[in-house]
Each structure stands twice: as C-alpha cells, then as structure tokens.
Amino acid sequence: MVPIINQIYAKFLEKRINSAKTKIEFYDNFLPIKLQTLEDRYNRKVEIIKLKYKQKLLSLEIPAGVDSEYLKEIYETEQANLKDKFYWKERIVKASSQRKGENGKEQIQELEKEKSIKANAIKNKYYPKSTSEAIKNYETNQPILNETLEAKITKIQTSYQIKVDKFSNKSNKAVKRYQEININLSAKLHEITKDKIAKYSLEENVVLSLKSLSMHFGGLKAVDDLSFDVKEGEIFGLIGPNGAGKTTVFNCITRFYKPTLGDIYFKNIYDDVVYLNDKLVHNIIKEGIVRTFQNVEMVWELNVIDNLLVAAHTIYRSGFFGHLFNSRLLRQEEKVMRRKAMKILEDLGISAYQYAYPYGLPYGILKKIELARTLMANPKLIILDEPAAGLNDVETADLAKVIKKIRDEYNATIFLVEHDMGLVMDICDTVCAISFGKKLAMGSPKEIQNSKVVQEAYLGGE
C-alpha cells in the first residue's frame, strides 16, 4: 500500500513543483512589461499636463508681448495652415478658369489680397501691442503657474514611484515564495523517490537513450534492436537510405507509435530521468521534447505569431473558464507569450512576417516558422524530421546557420533526420547510420563518410 501512496504523492509533488516553476517564469517575464506600461502612462500624463501649462501661459504671454518658442511654433503652424488653404483655393480657381477657357488672373489677385489681409490678422492676434497692465499680470502669475506645474508633476511622479515599487515588490515576493516552495517540495520529492531515481539513471551528458528499440509492423521489422545515446548540447544526425526506419524511430520517441520492444529514457527539463514508454503523446512536450514534421504542419487560419502561441499551449496556467471569461491572468499571460514569440521571431530573422498568414509564404520561411514554434515550449531536445526537404541550396545554408544558432543560444540538443548529406556533414557532431532498422555505424561525420558499411548500404555492395 505504502509505495502506491508514495507514488501518488510524488506525482502530486511533481505537479506542484512544475507549476511553481512556470509561475516563477511568468513573474520574471511579466515584470518588465508591466513596468513599461506604467512608464508609458506616466509619460503621457506628464505630457498632457505640460501642454495644458503651456496653453495657460500663452494666454498670459500674448498680451504681455513675451516671445516664447511655443508661441513661435503656434504662429508658424497657423501661417502654414493659411498658406495651404489658399494654395487649394488657387487651384480651384485655376481649374475652373481653365475649363471655361478664361484667364482668371483677376480672381487670383483677389485671393492674394485676401490672403495677405488674413496673414496680417494672424500676426496681430499673436503679436499685439503690449500694455503695462498685461505685463504686470504676467509677472505676477507666471511664478504661480510654474509652481503649480512642478507640484503636479511631483505628485504624479510619487504616485508612479509608489506603483512601481508596489508591483516590483509584489512580483519579487511571489518569486521568492515560489522558490522557497520549490526547494522544500524538491527535498520532499527527493526523499520519496530515492529508489526511483536510482532505477532510471543515465550516464552524464546523455539526454536521450534508446535501449534495444524494436518496432514491428506485422512481419516487417521497421526498427530492429537499435540502441544509441544522444549527448547533451550536440547536433545528432540520423541517416539511412529510404525505408531504413528513421521516421519510425522518431515516432517511437515522440510516442506516436508504441514500440514493440525496448526502452527509451530521457533527461527532462527538470534534470530528472523519465521513462518515455510510460508517457502519452501530448505530454511529451511537457518533458521538453518538441518535434517538427516532414511536410510543414501549420494552422492555416492563424497568423504567424498565433501559430507560435499554439506551441506554448502547455505553459498557460489559466484554465477553460479563464479563457471563457477572458480573465486578467489570461490577458497578462498573452502579453508575456507574445513578447516571447516576438523575441524568437527576431532571433531567427523572420519578424517581418509576424502578422502574415502562413498561406502562400515561401517554403523556407515556413520551415523557419516551424523551428521558431518548437522554441516556444522551452525545449531541451528538438527533433527535426527532414528540415531541408524541399529547400534550395541558399535556403539550406541559411537553415544550417539557424539550427546552429538555436543549439548555442537556447541550450537545446538537436536530433535530426536528413537526406541532404551536405547539411548533415556540415552541422552534425555525431552521425548514426541505419539500414533496414539496424545500426550500421556511429561516429563523427568524417568517420561515417569513410565507413565501408555505410557506403555499401547507400551504393549497394559488390
């Protein structure tokens, strides 16, 4: 009885730890967004107050004959407006006279007269003769206005500062609390699952390990007793002639197929070793494995950024009712996720397409969008199914760069199947060659190139 209860308790603890981790990530990402909006609001308020102040000052300055920059600005814009207005009036006169076949010079001269009168009127309005009373009035009232402006600005500033402090304190407190919870729970979990951890262990630096994997479709042995290890932070290539069972291996790892025999172990994002055979297809992404597909699988009704958000599906904390009522948490989370998606798109150099719909975009861009989508879920292992299929040479070279960049900047291990030998030999650290479901050779690209077994499998034996 006790082990079963322990198991249930351990699962419960795991869930709580994971949720605490996602909460910490959320608070970390949401803080700068909130601060930015607060700052924008503050700046706008100050701007409006300053504008109102200038207008009040102007009503004092004009009769007093004080020349300020704001007055000049307004005067010039008024004159420009007048000029513009008369330009169009002139054009009307010209066009109508042209239609009638008349000269129309008299009318234009009249317009010019009218224009000069109006310009003078504007000048008199903004630069009238000053009176001593107005000057006195200006001298007495100007300092008062200045004082009130400063008082208002300081008031807004203090309230802004209080808000910023309050929010950042709240966020920091939450992060601290969840970190404490995390540590406590992890200790508890470790106590319970001491034996379990010993049960599944991997060598150091190994992320994914296949142990004598077999997949039989009826009598056909698509994968036969295959075992290899993928090391952390490397680009691992799986090659083989057509029908060698590469995609079957992929589907076994991502649980689309249930392997007939053999075990798959994986060190997940929380550095725990998990037995992948127990997991469901849609839970694989939570462990940190994300895959792409041979022919791009986009959601065609959504634009590129929403397509990326689909992959962040498991990170959202808000539930069905939160979605139904558009809750505050959901709105905050959407902001955070959109920011993350934008950053990824910028990193991969496709931010120009953020609001485009994927329908009709070039194939190379679609492949990159799919790569970007895998990054949304904080992956540890990215599985690429023929990333260069259907791309030309330039696009393939670009893709190679992007894959290397992802490996370096996002600390992800990359596992790919590819037919394009140029790409494989260029970017892979380790290559494994299989044929008819059996491992032929494994090693660095050069070793594979020189291996006789591999050459025979590709070109046929003597």
Partner: protein, 361 residues
C-alpha cells in the same frame, strides 16, 4: 487656441475609434437593432406580432448556431444531433416547471448538467469515429431522442405537444411573464453568448481547437490533448443547444416532437455553412438568411403562407449557390464587396479631386 482645439478633437476621435474598434461593439449593435423592434412597439408604432416572434426565434437559433459553429468551424466535427439536444432543453423546462414546480435557475443548472453528460457520451464516440460517420451516429442519437419525446407521454405529453401557459418560476411563486420581457432577456443572453464565444475562439483553447482541426498529429505534438478538446467542444456545443432549448420553451411556451427532427439539425447546419462557420457575424447573417427571412418576410405574404415549400426551395438554392461560389460563407461575400466598394469610392474621390483642383502637373 487653434492647437488646443485640434488636440482635443484628435483625442475625442481616438476615443470614439477605441469604442467602435472594440471587438464587442458589433455584438452590441446587433443586440440593439434587435431590441429596437421591441422598443418601437412600446412607443406605439404598429409592428406585427409575427415579425417580433420571428426576431425572437432567430435570436434563439443564433445561440444554438454559435455552439454548433464551435463544433464545426473550430473543432472540425460534424454533428446532426442538434435538434435532439434542443428538444431535451425544452422538455426539461416544461417538465420541471409544470410537474415539479422548480425554479428557472434549477432548470438551467439541470440542463447544463444534462448537456455535460450528453456531450461526454457523444465526445467519447467522436474519438473513434470521424467525418460523415460521426454525423450519421449523431443523427441516430437525435432520432432516438425524437422517438423518446413521442413515447414518453408522462413527461412530454407525446405527439400532442407540451404547452406552458407562459408561466415561469423565478424563486418560489408562479409568475406569468410577458413574452416581450422574455424577448429582451433573450437579446441580452444572445449578447453574452456572443462575447463568450468570441473569448473562447480568441483564447488558447480556440487556437488548440484550430490546431486539432488542421492536423491531429501536429496538435498532439504541441501538447493538445485530443480527448480533452473533443469532449470540450461537444460539451460546449451541447450546453449552447440546451440553453437555446430552455429559452425557446420559455418564449414560445410550446414544444412538439415534430419540430425536433432532422430538418431542424440540417437547417442549423445550413445556417452555419451559408453564413461562414468561423465568423460570429457570419453565423448571425446565415441564421437570418435561413430562418429570419422565412419567418420575418415570407410569412407576411399570403402566397408564401399557402405554399410553404417555396421557402424550403429557396434555402436549398441558397446553399447550392453559396457552396459553389463562396465556400467561406456569405460573410466572405460581404467583406469582399465592402472592400470593392471602398476601392470604387476612393477612385471616385480621386476623379472628383482632379476635376475640382486640376491635375497635379
């Protein structure tokens, strides 16, 4: 001062645009237009009873069609069981108020619970069966329900139909409610349902449903559980249908098994497809084309009253034309014509400008 005025103007314009660009603004306008018909009658303009009734029924059908669009347009599941579910909603209200004298809130609670149970059953079926076969199975379920309505005489009063003397129980006492009041409540509920549907569609749930519709394997690889979302889609659509049934019964006060036949399900399907299955405005438009036009316009003339088959023929013709020329629904036609008109207007403006001011060179 000049600048001040323009700034204020700009600010006002921006605020007005903020209101009109708000995603709920269109729903508010639709609801307001519906309510205006009722308000006109209060102020004394002679609006015929049948017209108001037509608007009321169309609003109820819009609620049902919204639920169906989540199922068809977003989850990609075809169902022909809508009629049966709506029927259950009507009978729940009828039985609970007439025989058990229960409050309307209890009725709504019971109908939601019933919808969840039925949604779960159909959802589990949909995990194994897809496409046309799912439609046939749900059709079978609907027909079974229809037979139950006909034969469970003690609850449904059989083929004679179940009538309610326009009575509803709000808390404990029997209250006779005016149809006009229920009309207003229906409009408000429709408004709320539109908002909820939009929220759901634009949220991660809506995106997950769309991903599932495009490719189940890709959706699973992205962490979308097919089981959870198919069940959810069926439950949501059934809740909408049952709620529609409850409102129908409280508005019409009469329910008869022949209404809840295959024709009703097909009409809802037609409304969603004719309007556009992924747009809420499209659904409103489609429901008006299929139900509103017949109830509100055709029924005003004696010719159509004597030959009711003509409106059915019109519906058939409409479906054929829309599917042939506008697979995206009539809403696609509306948007394209809007943009065409906008372009034409811009061209006309340009011509007028050239005439008035002379060409630029």
């Amino acid at each position: 001062m000049m600048i001040c005025r323009t700034e204020v103007c700009k600010d006002r314009k921006a605020r007005f645009k903020q209101i009109t660009n708000h995603p709920y603004f269109g729903f508010f306008i639709i609801t307001f237009l519906m309510l205006i018909v009722q308000l006109l009658r209060v102020t004394g303009v002679p609006v015929s009873n049948t017209l108001i009734r037509a608007f009321g029924i169309t609003m109820i059908y819009i609620i049902i069609a919204l639920g169906f669009s989540i199922l068809l347009g977003y989850a990609g599941l075809a169902s022909l069981g809508t009629a049966g579910f709506v029927g259950i909603g009507t009978y729940i209200l009828g039985y609970f108020t007439k025989n058990l004298e229960a409050s309307i809130f209890i009725v709504i609670l019971v109908s939601i619970l019933g919808a969840i149970v039925i949604g779960l059953i159909v959802g589990f079926i949909s995990l194994r069966i897809e496409g046309m076969y799912l439609a046939i199975i749900t059709l079978g379920l609907s027909e079974i329900l229809n037979e139950v309505f006909k034969n469970a005489v003690s609850i449904t009063n059989g083929t004679n139909g179940l009538g309610l003397d326009s009575q509803l129980i709000i808390f404990k006492n029997l209250i006779f409610i005016n149809h006009n009041t229920i009309f207003i409540f229906t409009a408000i509920i429709m408004f709320v349902m539109m908002i909820l549907t939009l929220n759901l569609i634009k949220s991660p749930t809506g995106r997950a449903l769309l991903a599932m519709r495009n490719s189940t394997s890709a959706a699973q690889a992205m962490g979308v559980s097919i089981l959870k979302y198919r069940l959810m889609a069926f439950i949501v659509s059934t809740v909408y249908a049952m709620l529609g049934g409850v409102i129908y019964m409280s508005y019409i006060s009469f329910s008869i098994p022949t209404t809840w036949s295959l024709a009703f399900s097909l009409n809802i399907l037609a409304a969603v497809i004719v309007g556009g299955s992924q747009s809420i405005y499209g659904i409103v438009l489609g429901t008006f084309m299929i139900f509103g036009l017949n109830l509100g316009v055709f029924q005003q003339f004696d010719f159509f009253k004597e030959n009711p088959a003509i409106s059915v023929m019109f519906n058939g013709l409409l479906i054929i034309l829309v599917i042939m020329f506008y697979p995206g629904g009539l809403i696609r036609l509306v948007t394209t014509t809007y943009y065409k008109l906008k372009n034409a207007l811009a061209k006309l403006k340009m011509k007028w400008r050239n005439y008035r001011y002379g060409s630029d060179n």
